[in-house]
Structures are given as structure tokens and as C-alpha cells.
Symmetry: C2
């Protein structure tokens, strides 16, 4: 009994091997193991390998893959698509063509067309026998789907339910009719939310006319959940989603994914220079004000980052929807206020302490402390509210809420934070320093 390694792990250094070396290594393994390994590679790796193999080997290996994986492979194959498709048997080619009609991130692109279909008038025992016959060609034997002559889904029953009912009971009387089914054009993120709520290991996919087209199994959903979380996390870090493992993304592609957003944020942040130019005379008169600029604007950015992260994630897992913006605002406004007061308290203490110890700020220490304290409250409240509401705004205009990234929120809050700070300063320090 192995503990940490799975039976399908590739050898160390695998990802650095050229496709030809991978072929050699695979040929040297017992078929059972090399097949298992091949089935668990990424689509890109499977494609590389297939193209490196001889024509006859290619056919054997390609036919190992279930139709949904073949569809992903053909989608990535570019000019080799026709050649690879010609290696499939006719039945599979038909299924794959149907799958290719769907975009990869829709329910239809995730499903497998190989499921157990039964008729409503079969008995439980007949149905079990039927499962036994089909067991090697279907994606899962654990659910049986009851269809009418037009392939419309009438009900579903699990193998477990079939086991615990009398042998001669017709399927029609055992099946559940309140079936959770998934429209073939539903986005994969929504599909993952349904799985997360339902605890089922497979769900049927139906088209607009209620005809069953395939099933989605939960092992694919684990991948979807991981993928969607990676995308959100990367967008949240202020870049485009990679859609591939870090080490597999080439230098040029990585640069493109990151340079675009970084440059956009930079151009946005240039407004801080413009804003500060307006206050150049104030700064010249009260250089001490500049000392607290990074402190104040970054606090707004951090508060905004917290709020936007929370909201983006809660939206992604379906905890809150677009309509909940009022509820969120009612929570975040007092929260931002309290957080701002906390920081203001620390900031004021810091200034007064430095004053007592070193006399750093001369006769205007108290006025300066008041300026910094009030600005912090203003900036943190604004950062929190802006960070919390931006994802709703993006969603309302049909953009991805995850684009309300920490750097993006920080950039907007930096510019407005400067305006808040200098406005407060002019008001409080008038006649003292300005």
C-alpha cells in the first residue's frame, strides 16, 4: 500500500523531457501503467506525445481517451486536427464532433456522451444486468438515466437505489423524477456551484428541448474548481489568467500576460503625479506632509484590497449575487469606519510619540496628527466602500468581477487618497503651515 505517491505519477524530471524521450520511456513501461499515465497527462502533453509517435501507435493511444478528452485534444491540435480525427472509430468521431460544437468552458464541453440509458419499463434486475453489459464503455455505472424514445430525460436512479429495491420492480417506479439537470450551455463555474451544493457524483446535461446529451462527473468538477480559482487568484494579483501551469508558460507569453496590466496600472497611477502637481506649493511650504503620503494612500489600498477580495470570492462561489450590494454596503460602511478609526488612532499615537521623544514635528505636531488621523479615516472608509462595490459595478456591466484586483483597487484609491489627504491638510493646517 503506497501512501503518498499515486499510481499515475510520472517519473521525476518528466516535464523537462522532450516528447521523443517521453515516448521511449512510455514504451518501456508495462501497458497498464503507461496507459494510466497517458490518461492523466494534460491535453497539451498528450498532443505532443501523439505527434511524436508512429502512425500505428498513435491510433492505439488516441483510442484510449474518452470522447470528452479527445474533443479537448482536437481543439488544441491546430493543423493536425483532421489527421487525428481520421484515426477515430466512426461512433467516437460522431460523439466528438457533437462535443466540439460546444465551447470548452460550457457544460456541453465538459460532458461525456457515454452514460447508462435505460427504458422506464425494465425491471430492477434487468437494469442491473444491463449495467453489467455496458460497464466497460460508459463513463460511470453509478447512475442510470431513464429516457423516453425521444431521448428526453424522465428520471434517474442510482445503482445503490437499484440494489436496495425488489428485483422485479420496474425502473419507472424506482426512479426519481425531481432530477437536477444542467443546461448544455451553462457556464462551467455555475456547474461547479451546483455540484458543490448537491453532493452528487454525476449530473445529466440536457439541451433546450430536454433531450439528454451526456453526463458531467464530479472528478472533472474538481479540475474546474481548481482552474476557476487559479484564474480568479491570478486576475486578483493584477494580471491576466495564465490558463496553464506556471512552469509550462513560455517567457514571451508570461511577459504579455503581465506587462499589459502592469502598464495599464502604471498609466492609471500616473494620475498621482498629476494630482500631486496641483499641491506642489503646499508641499514646498510643508515638506513634512510628504512623509505620510505612502502611509496614507497604502492604507486605503489595503482596506480596499480586503473588501474586494471578500466580495469577489463570495460572488465566485455564489454566496452573494448582484442584488446584494445594499446588504454589503450596509456592512462595509461601518466596518470601514471602525477600521479607519483604528488606524487613525495608531497613526496619531505614532506622531505624538515621535514628537515627545525627538520633537520631530515642532509646534504643529498636534495639527499634523489631526490631519493624518482624519485623512486615514476618510481614505480607509473610501477604500473599503470602493473595494466592496467595484465587483458589483463590474458585474453590472458584464465584466469579470475578479478584475477588481488588489493592484487595480489600490491604484484608484491612491489617486483619490491624495486628494483626500491634501484637502484635509488645507482645511486643518490653514494658518498653521499652509
Amino acid at each position: 500500500v503506497s501512501s503518498r505517491k499515486t499510481a499515475v505519477d510520472p517519473p521525476d524530471g518528466w516535464s523537462h523531457l522532450p516528447p521523443e524521450a517521453k515516448c521511449l520511456w512510455l514504451r518501456a513501461q508495462p501497458p497498464h501503467q503507461s496507459h494510466e499515465l497517458f490518461l492523466h497527462l494534460t491535453t497539451r502533453e498528450q498532443l505532443e506525445l501523439l505527434l511524436a509517435l508512429s502512425q500505428s501507435e498513435r491510433q492505439v493511444w488516441l483510442r484510449l481517451l474518452p470522447p470528452d478528452d479527445v474533443a479537448d485534444l482536437l481543439q488544441a491540435a491546430g493543423t493536425s486536427r483532421g489527421m487525428l480525427a481520421s484515426l477515430l472509430d466512426d461512433a467516437t468521431r460522431l460523439q466528438v464532433t457533437a462535443l466540439l460544437a460546444y465551447k470548452e468552458d460550457l457544460a456541453g464541453g465538459l460532458m461525456s456522451p457515454r452514460f447508462v440509458r435505460v427504458r422506464p419499463d425494465m425491471t430492477a434486475d434487468e437494469a442491473i444486468g444491463y449495467v453489467r453489459l455496458q460497464s466497460h464503455v460508459v463513463e460511470t455505472v453509478y447512475y442510470l438515466y431513464v429516457l423516453d424514445e425521444d431521448q428526453r430525460l424522465l428520471g434517474v436512479l442510482s445503482l445503490r437505489e437499484l440494489f436496495s429495491c425488489p428485483k422485479d420492480r420496474p425502473v419507472r417506479q424506482v426512479m426519481r423524477q425531481d432530477v437536477v439537470s444542467i443546461p448544455d450551455r451553462m457556464d462551467q463555474e455555475a456547474v461547479a456551484q451546483i455540484f458543490a451544493r448537491s453532493d452528487l457524483i454525476a449530473l445529466p446535461v440536457v439541451d433546450a428541448e430536454g433531450r439528454m446529451k451526456g453526463i458531467i462527473t464530479i472528478d472533472d468538477i474538481v479540475d474546474v474548481v481548481n482552474e476557476e480559482a487559479s484564474e480568479d487568484i491570478q486576475k486578483f494579483g493584477g494580471m491576466e489568467a495564465l490558463h496553464a501551469p506556471y512552469l509550462e508558460v513560455g517567457f514571451a507569453r508570461m511577459l504579455r500576460k503581465r506587462a499589459g496590466w502592469l502598464a495599464a496600472l502604471f498609466i492609471g497611477e500616473m494620475l498621482t503625479a498629476t494630482a500631486m502637481a496641483r499641491y506642489q506649493n503646499d508641499i514646498a511650504q510643508a515638506v513634512v506632509l510628504t512623509l505620510f503620503i505612502p502611509l496614507i494612500i497604502s492604507s486605503g489600498g489595503n482596506a480596499g484590497s480586503q473588501a474586494s477580495t471578500l466580495i469577489i470570492r463570495a460572488m465566485a462561489v455564489g454566496e452573494i449575487g448582484v442584488r446584494d450590494w445594499r446588504v454589503v454596503l450596509r456592512r462595509e460602511l461601518p466596518l470601514g469606519w471602525m477600521l479607519g478609526v483604528c488606524l487613525a488612532f495608531i497613526g496619531i499615537a505614532r506622531i505624538l510619540l515621535w514628537q515627545v521623544i525627538g520633537g520631530s514635528y515642532g509646534s504643529y505636531a498636534v495639527a499634523l496628527a489631526v490631519t493624518v488621523g482624519l485623512s486615514l479615516v476618510g481614505v480607509v472608509v473610501w477604500g473599503t466602500v470602493f473595494g466592496a462595490l467595484l465587483p458589483f459595478l463590474l458585474r453590472a456591466v458584464r465584466l469579470d468581477p475578479a478584475s477588481a484586483s488588489a493592484p487595480f483597487v489600490a491604484t484608484v484609491v491612491d489617486v483619490s487618497g491624495l486628494l483626500i489627504y491634501f484637502t484635509v491638510a488645507r482645511f486643518v493646517l490653514r494658518g498653521i503651515l499652509l
Copy 2:
């Protein structure tokens, strides 16, 4: 056939109802539906409901839950723990006590002790009959675990394999011996990675002596993956993980989760004020330098945020390990360099353009542009490298890499960014402005 709603969805506004109202609503539903709904509530809601019910109802509802869910419930029950435990039947109480010995986020805390055990000398047909008998008391019927007299795991076979083999073949000859099993003290994040790689719907959990203690099913893994991603995303946004849905966290708890990190970052960022105080004379002589402070330090923060996000996520899904820091450094160093050059180019163009249009920067425009450009390259390279390596550092000292949050990286880079900027300025502008 319903499409969007699952059969277990609570009614609208459910989460705002007091527990007593929830009880009333549940009692009014047909038992099948109210039981389903109850089973899919969060642990906290189940507990609230149970405490609001009468003693006799409580027993019925509590006994609906599988042992792993009961264990979670008792863990959350506080002073009611003994009372609730007394309502269980003896067998379940024993199982639950065994589960409670594990921490919630370890494999042992996720597993269910209810699985199908068979002996190696049973025939395939006997085994199928046995599954039929056990089908209503086990978590899944889809895998059969072959154990010896000491409960040591000998092998596993799926119901599907059992179906496609001759009826009189002994289980010993059908079972697979190269079983992937999970140590009972493995962290749930590592368990999720094994599931993501293996495509199986259940995996056995064994203790240090190889005795099988239970199974983990993939539907729980979807929850784990979502949970871990939420935790990472929240930490990444610069706060403590909530461990609960956004709308269910009370005001005081939310404040605590956010105020701590915000205050810590604020105190760290106070170093910027200290750093700038060192350059107060430079600033007084060259106020124009201050205009670009937010621009330069935020660019370092943004570059660092991109790098740390990528690395944290790649670590979380197991794409890279602690040993890969050299590979990462070799990629990020030239990347940071290119990104820095891009931004420097834009920054220099901006200064020269403003100079040509409005003569904003007088005779020292070129020197200023050079200062800003060089600083940008330095700050972006440093931000990228620091952001990429910090997760490795945290991991090396056994802290969570996800603590290398965007705000944390930005705070460190802000302070060092100021030092870089003023050092470059002193060097370039000596004799011109300083």
C-alpha cells in the same frame, strides 16, 4: 426536469430566518424534502436548528446525519456536545468518538468510517450480494475494500470491475493491489491534490500501521478545494481567512479578522515615514521628486503582487515545490527586468512629453526622467524577485506561503522602493538639483 435549481435549495431569504422559523418551515415540508435540505445545510445551521427543536425531534434529525457530519457538529456544539452525543445510537457514538480524535482539516477528520469491507476469499457474486445488503448503511457502494483479519488493507475493487468479471472468481484475484491510500494525518490540501491527480471518486484512509480507518469521497473534496481556495484568496487580500460565508460572519468577528492585518501592515508602512524623514532635506530642495513617489513605489508593489500570486497558487496546487526556487528565480529575474524597462520607457516618455507641452520640469527634465526611469527598473526588478521568493521563504520557515499577500509584498516594497528612488536621485541629480 428542473434546470437551475437543485432539489435541495432552501427557499428565498432562508438565511435571514431565525432558527425557530426554520424549524416551522421544515416541519411543513414532506419528510423526504426537509431531510434532504437539512443534510445540505452548513454545520452551523444544522446545530442552530437542532438546538431549536424538541428533544424527540432532535434525536430523529441528528440520526439522519452520517458520522463525519455528526463529528463536525459536535465539534461546533460547545456546551451542548454531551447532550447531543447522548442522542446517538451506540455504534455511531463509537465511530464519532474515533473521528473526533482527528483535527477537522486532516484526512482523518474528513473521512467516513462507513465503507464496504469484504474478505479476499469471497467470490464476485457473493461480494455483489454483500454490497446489496450494505448499500443503505455505507457512504458509497462503488468501491469494495478487501481487508485481512487485522483490518489491514489488501486491495480494492470497484463495483464496475466486479460487474465485468466472472461470477465465481474470488475477490482476491480481481482486486487491485497497487492501492493509492491516504495517511490519516495528511493535511486536507494534500488530500485534494491527490484526488485532483487520480480521478477516483473515493480513496481509503489508513493509520500508521496500515489499518483502514475510513474513506474520503470526492464530493467532500470539492468542498475542501473551494474552502482552501477561499482561504488563500482571503489571505492573499491581506486579511485572516474567514472560514465561513461572507454574509454569515458577524460584525465583530469580521472586524477582528481584518483589523489585525490592516494594523500590522500600517505599522510596517510607518517605516516609509521614517525612511522619508531621512531624505527630508533632499525633498525640500527638490519638491518635484515627491510627485513620482506614489508612482514608483506602487509599480514595485504591483510587480511583486503579480509574482507572489503566481507562485502562491502554483504551490497550492502542487505545480512547484520548495526546491524549485532556483527555477523560479531564473525566470522572474529577466521577467522583472523586461517589465521594469517597459514601465521605465512609459515613465520617461510621460516626463519628456509634459516637458515639451508645458515645460513642467525646467532645465532638469532629462535628469529627472533618467532618475525616474532607473528607479522604476530597480523597483520593479526588486518587487518581482521579492514577491516571487517570499512564498518560498515563508514555506521554509513553515509559515503559510499565502501570507505573502499583495498588501504585505506592497508594504515591504514601498519601504525599499523609497530607498532605491532616493539613492538613485542622489546619484543622478547631484550637482543639478541636490
